[in-house]
Symmetry: C3
Subunit: 139 residues, 3 copies
Amino acid sequence: MKSYRKELWFEIPARRGFVNITPQVEACLAESGVSEGLVLVNAMHITASVFINDDERGLLHDYEVWLEELAPHAPTSHYHHNRTGEDNADAHLKRQVMGREVVVAVTEGKLDFGPWEQIFYGEFDGRRRKRVLVKIIGA
Amino acid sequence: MKSYRKELWFEIPARRGFVNITPQVEACLAESGVSEGLVLVNAMHITASVFINDDERGLLHDYEVWLEELAPHAPTSHYHHNRTGEDNADAHLKRQVMGREVVVAVTEGKLDFGPWEQIFYGEFDGRRRKRVLVKIIGA
Amino acid sequence: MKSYRKELWFEIPARRGFVNITPQVEACLAESGVSEGLVLVNAMHITASVFINDDERGLLHDYEVWLEELAPHAPTSHYHHNRTGEDNADAHLKRQVMGREVVVAVTEGKLDFGPWEQIFYGEFDGRRRKRVLVKIIGA
């Protein structure tokens, strides 16, 4: 069994943002030499997500608006977590909606994707360096 | 390491619907010959989900009502994504709540499930042929 | 390929609660002898979650309040599922927001985690014995 590990680093300049990381994951897969197996891609931070959806600007706007409705940032005093001195409780909630990780099949050395699947890093508490883990196992 | 891949195709006649796909995944597992490992089952489309829950008609109704409250289909003009000519922005949101994929343990050649776990395909933008990927790795 | 399986049992005395199960999963990993691979940790029940987030008391309170807003327990007659004699329809909904499972990378024999990642069992219909499955594959 082969295994491969890499960290991808991001620094989103705003509190929230989405980045298509599919090319970086594809580069990891090529480097791994795995042709049949599974790729795990996960946020290593608990206020960020990795998810798969469409790379369409309007949709990313819709996610931003919708997540802010489901789990508003303000008033920050609404959240007990923020009594610790943080102001990011909403980010922990938003991340649960969008998910921590994706697992993708590897077939014949490629990400085994449908036509529109793209992997995104979703940042909900940015303005600092944060990491995504890529772990690949297979043969 | 053994690996196995199969696509399952669905055409849901309505915009939304749920299908219990556990028997098809069990058939894939039997065909794979894997006795210890992991099964990944994922929607290959970004307006559909694969999830695990109870095969109870009332609950599936409750999911339908609840998802429509969390991410309403109409007014379609509410969503920027629909400016592309689509009317399925809500489907992309509903899919994030229910999830893209499940990973299930394989033990002694069986899906290693609790008493009520069933795998569902959740369609949020149907009336066309769409696919689910089953990937199995193990020994 | 090595594989390992263990069930962890919980009995949460209230309807809802969160338990940090990271030490138990770490013990499983040590017992498995796997140094490179993947760990799957999933609820075996459909009214419970396994998720990764911060072990901070205020945040767990915020999750409880937020999930009750997104999918209220009462009025129980609101849900068709409860016509079966159950009163736990909301638990099936809450579990979808928080997720069924996590997949964690194993690197050099350790859970490959960022600084704050902790694995939680989330109970939404407790007061009885329920199970979590830990499955580890790798080399």
